[in-house]
Amino acid sequence: MHRDGPFTRMPEVATPPIRQGLLVFLILLFAVAFCTSRAIADPPQQGSPAQAKSGQAAPASDEYVGQDTCAGCHEEVVKGFATNPHTRLAEMHGKTGVTCESCHGPGKAHVDGGGDVAKIFNPAKATAKEVDAKCLSCHRGQHSNFEHTAHGEGNVSCLGCHNIHKAAETGPLLKATQPTLCFECHTDVKPEFNMPFHHKVEEGLITCSDCHDPHGTFNRKNLRASTQQDAVCTKCHVETAGPFVYEHAVVKTEGCVACHFPHGGPNPRLLNRANVNTICLQCHSPSPNFTTSQPLGPAHNQAVQYQSCTICHTEVHGSNISAVFFATQ
């Protein structure tokens, strides 16, 4: 089904030497890192946040009982864990690595207490902060922005989206697949993807995480960025990224949302107006102090033809040939 298009050719510029040197440096760096056998064999020694904060000593090894003991009472949970990515922890240390107790803590007291729930860490009963600390003790490197962005600050917690033992989507251990999962809280967004013109999120082609990082980013609304640190829209709508000789400044300074609804809307091309001319004339109308009103828009009779500005001004995202975004000089 996938038809091979033209094989990408390199741009006709010489690769600066510094780029080649950078690649060589990376190769050497990776080789050194990979051949550090102790560093690779041993997992990171993160330490338990609770232990570190309380200054308590780490649990003694005899306080752990092992997965098989957990299965004595929690057979169904342990059975399902075979398909869980966390099972790779069991592969550690000559296949004696702990799994259940990596998250729930040492189980001996819980077992000796006849299943005393107070003697084991139960994420379902814990606060959002405790859950976050537990998960981030391993996953902080991947999700460094979580705690100081919307979901972390809002007490959503990791368990707001993830279910370690009963995941609908086993890879990322999500409670439900996207976008159903996101719409459970973001009920205000769902109707936008059902408007006449919309990004195909409900159809399953695009996911919320294609544009947003639910674990947080440094950008507003947890938006991702393109690899060149441009608006995330340019990941797919790459022809609008430029750079151009004649930039339509508002595209780069105000963003795509100056003219488009990002999720969906009742207007074609997800424009935020039904009439293209109104979008343009909002800015390109006489205003003595605004430099962005130039060139002035009302140069054409709205009573007759030139119904749409984009009949002539086709290159509205930027042009290399025309300062007024014509397709020709």
Partner: protein, 803 residues
Amino acid sequence: MTNQTKSRFSLGGSPAGLSNPRFCSLTLVVTLIASGTVCGIAQQQPAETNTQQPAGTNAQQPAAAQAAKKAPETKPATPPDGKTVGNYRVHQMVELGGRIAERSGSIPMWATMVNQTTGFRVLAQSLDMHSMNTSKTPFFDVLTTNSYGYGGDPYNGSYLNASKGRWWDFAGSFRRDRNYFDYNLIVQPNLTTATVINPPLVLTPSTLHIFNTVRYNTSTLLTLFPVSRVHARIGYNHGTHEGPTYSTIHNGGDVQLSQWFRNSLDTYVGGIDVNVAKRTTLSYDQFLGFYRGDTSWHLAPTPFVLRTTTTPVSLGVTVLTGPTNTGGQACAGNMAVVNGVANEFCSGTIQQSWTAPSRTSFPTEQFRFVSHYWDRVGMNGRFAYSGGVNNINHFNETFNGLVSRSFTRQEIFTGALANGRLAHNKRINVNADYNVGVELTKFLSITDTFNFWNFRIPGSNAVSAQVWAGTSSTNPPNLNMLTPLSQVPVTTTTTTNTGYLAQKNTGNTILAVASVTSHFKLSGGWRFNDRQIKFGTDPTLVWHQNWALVGAVIQPSQIVRLNVDYEGMSSSSANSATPTNTYTREAPNNIQHIVVRTLVNPRKWVSLAGAYNGYYAKNDDPLVNHKAHNNNVSFAAHLIPAETLSLDFNYAYEEAYSRTDLCYQFTANPQAPLPPGAVNAGTCTAANGGGSGFYLGNGYYNSPVNFFLGGANWAPKKYLNLYGAARVTHTNGSAEMLNPLMQTGALGSTVVDPYVDVQVKIAPEWWWHGNWEHHGYNEFGGIGPAPREFHGDIYTLGVKYAF
């Protein structure tokens, strides 16, 4: 593809060829794999008796501790569901079938909004493999793959995930989407009225900018040693967007062009993470992006030919027709085309072609770090530098025909730089972000986030223009589209131009978070942003934006959570060169935004959610009067009253409103009177840069939308599953229409989509699947050039085999 979209343009392609950076990347991949293999073999250690604990502990586990595991009762792990194949536990599902699509009404709109056709389908496929004994599965422990929509659906995809314990993770995906667009109210050139002299112009039933393109995206990411202190990742992403489209060009007449749209982006990713200390990770990522823009144009098919020849000619999208054969006479006062024959003395286009291959490279370096080394202090940050370079090579634009107002007979534009290069542009981007959070006490913490984003885009072009044009209506005499070029003077000029755009944002956000009680958390803070923009030779404009941030989380129990977030922004000029409080007229200088969300789970089988999202903005410049608001109230319920029954309900009301003073020109005539209330006032007067023919409009736009979704899933027997639902989106909007023939279109519409799904188990591991979807689209405004309503049903029948 729909019936009207049977375009079978073949895809051209330039020869394949490796180039240095890609070769280097491959070398890197080979080196990494080889290094990993060597080190992996070297690290095949026997089981240790004195091992350290995994993440989360620091304790040793001596062999004596093994005895503790034997009491109480232990059970060996039972395998997960599925079949055992070799050393794997396997789940597999494949569903084959087909769709029957029946539709009535507007075919272009069906293709634009639904685009489903009749035919055989591979409806779905999935495969899960999990190792039963990882020591006996050397290549992978886990492999999952799933696909959907192959065979003719407008969008389809495949996903592959695999992993081998602590050695590697792989994630890959392929997605394809066919986009068809023909909404005839957009780029509609002939929505006009008759004048005294000319008969009514013809309305085209389709938009002039139809597109029928396909978007492909392939993404791969390989992570090596994912749970180790040092782990690396290599990735590749390829995206292509291509297909036939129509565009237009303003050159004398407004001419329609056939545009082969073709863009692709290849991105290579390499990265490494190193845990250098306790809870501290340093990361480096290298991105290499290569963009190819190969969109080209030529004249779209035209029904007209030149007199005395059969040469096709386009007279533009506005065509004046009449019964009188006046070929060979001056254009003024006569018809431009009669019975398909164009008057060669009128403006027309015989050839219009354009090619401007664009090549851009985006190398980007990114350093990141995160640390929670100290228990009460967490910090993370990143620095990214991107230096993109773009060249437009082998540029050529050719026009042949006649532009009567400038006596132009032919134009050829090429790039005046080496190799026909037209333009050379750069995009230099620097990002630096840093966050630190300090837990002052058990109840109070403070976070501070610094953001820096600076980009600059210098560009330049050089154009060589050869223009065959007369100097007057008599030089050369009787200039027309059939005049030989040898009789027309030609001039050659070279012009150079430069462009520049830069923006710098420097901001800081400080937020205090107080856990007042275990059920109530309050936050408050301030965000400041210094924004600088320089465009061309204009002076640098500077604004200061101040935000007030307030938030609350109320969580009286595990079953209820209420989140309230408010932010208010004010923007103002920050230097003498900046006379306005915003960069553009429609950008707000004052924003109030409040979001309230609640999640209630009173029972395990009841999940309720609600949200209010209110956004209010304005630009209070007296010549702008911009106001905007978005209000959204929504509610959702998910109920599972029984094991065999689940119910879903969603309702939302969303309203987007905006108004802005704007100016437009309008020459009234008996068929097109001035819009009500049009006056030359406000920003449209000559004193403010307008003119006597400028009228003041308000740019009014309002789109209230009601959305409803209700559905039920019922599985009364193990062999029977029923699902029924209906979705309705009703938009009852209005907007300022500057032309009396403008229509509201989809701004006043209703979309109705009921659907039913039935699955019946017909034999062990075999299911029969039936699905019915209805798509109904209605507008209640004017028809315009052609009706856009449609109704259609899609019947899907399939057989699924799953184990």
